[in-house]
Amino acid sequence: MPGVLILEQALNGLQFGLMLFLLAAGLTLVFGVMDMINLAHGSLYMVGAFVAAWLGALTGSFVLGVLGAVALTAVFGMVLEAGLLRTLYARDHLSQVLATFALILILNDGTKMVFGNDLPLSAPAALAGPVELLPGLIYPAYRLLIIGVGLALAVLLWLLVQKTRMGALVRAGASNREMATAMGTNIPRLFTAVFGIGAALCAVAGALLGPLLAVQVGMGENILILAFVVIVIGGIGSIRGALVGAILVGCIDTLGRTFLQHALRELLPPQWASAAGPAIASIAVYVFMAVVLAIKPQGLFPARG
């Protein structure tokens, strides 16, 4: 396989991984700080994409659509948290799973009622073309934007968690909730803020991935499970773990898909190879998670001391 192909696929894996990171970051914070399994996280991603598509059509500007989606989804997330999810913190995991599953149903149909089943969302025309990174390595400009935004947000999040007071509170809450409460942190407000940040990150992912995929009801369900896999691999409550885990998962999936298809094409008819390749790559991701759990049960970068 030519080197250019490997590089290009590596970039694709990075792009996919960074979007996964945006989802996983919010999820791991919610899980780490509030000890809540939130299945509705994928629905926030969907809501973000829909709002971005709607605002983008309304204002005619992609950027305004994204920014508006981030703001509105963050507000929506905070309202959801304060209104409904707060009652779930004290409950057992099964109740949380079921209640947030119910929330998925409600949000799916609710979105359908408000926006319809799907909305068109296009990348800005300026980014519709390719960019030559190295001689021979041509890459779509829009995907480079995604990578850029993903990395920038990763840095921003790191700064937030490491350098700000709120970040310190988040880290404290993630590593030992009871002690943090005993120390006098205003837990409810912290929780709402954490949820809002998670929702905002989801909205960025949804708005950016919208032009590549399709903005449709139920789009969050497939990516949600991968986000959970990422946070289990990375360590619950750890942003660093989420980043590393996400990029690993993204690369295993994308590169695995390519290598396996090439390898299997020698052995199997093309239809079978094309089916088996991606499937085995996806299985590999889960096997990787199982292996990590076996060796380091708390994940690669556990937040809990």
């Binding site: 209640a99 149909d109 609710g110 369900e221 299985i283 889960y286 199982a290």
Partner: protein
Amino acid sequence: MRPAVRALPIAVAALVALALPFVLRALGLDFYLSLASRIVVFGVAATSLNLVLGYGGMVSFGHAAFVGVGAYVTGVMISEGVQSGVAHLAATVAITALVALVIGAISLRTRGVYFIMITLAFAQMLYYLANSVKGYGGDEGLNIRARSLFSLGDRVLDLKDPLAFYYVALAVLVLTLVALARFVPSRFGRAALALRDDDVRAEALGFPVYRSKLVVFVVAGALGGVAGALSVNLQGYVSPNVLHWTQSGTLMVMVILGGVATVWGGLVGAAVLMLMQEVLGAYTEHWEFWTGWVLLAVVLYARQGLVGVVKTLRDRKAGPR
């Protein structure tokens, strides 16, 4: 309450269930027999989940995988020409139990959210495996034209006949419920409940925690497989979607709606959910929206489910004993 009075609602339910196809036909609603059959099949699947979730205390988020494996085993056998229903059942139980043994052996070494994630991971692995095998349909799914055949003496029961299917499925459901009802007060059943409530204490008392949980997990998995074998006979079609995690979620919804850790909970939950879908679906295409709210209300306020609520009311009426 005296046993005779207690048995009355069960007797009524049994009578209704047995007479249902004829009643529907008389009303000209025989199209709805397939809905009734679907409720029965999902009742078996939900009851199997209730066994592992309610009585075993294991939040297995990959239970749909067992249903799917059962469906695929039977589907593949039928498409390869094996028609005997007994062979289908035997193979389904054997293979699903084996899969459950492997998954359980690994997953039960973890606890809490990690257990949930691992069972989910295994279910997803099986989902992708089903997607990858293009020879048996892959993501297009597997169509089968024939169905299981059961021979009773000189008569042959073909599950393609809706009436035959309904009664066979009903028989499976009745056996499941009877078995569960006998399991709960039995010695092993009480041990399993003790494990569910506090497995650390149970271990301290000398119970073989890991082994007991594994047994419950395997039995529940095999039962789920049987439900899957029935479902592929009903639909004539199985696709990897049967193994998707959202299907596991749906089964959990049924268990919660009906009543966790109750014998009838699975069936009641399945019936309520499917009827809600049918009735609400006739009025609005957004039936999932209302179903979600109902589910949320149940989780927040009536955690013990419908059967649990009925039990509480009945006990309250009986007064302090």
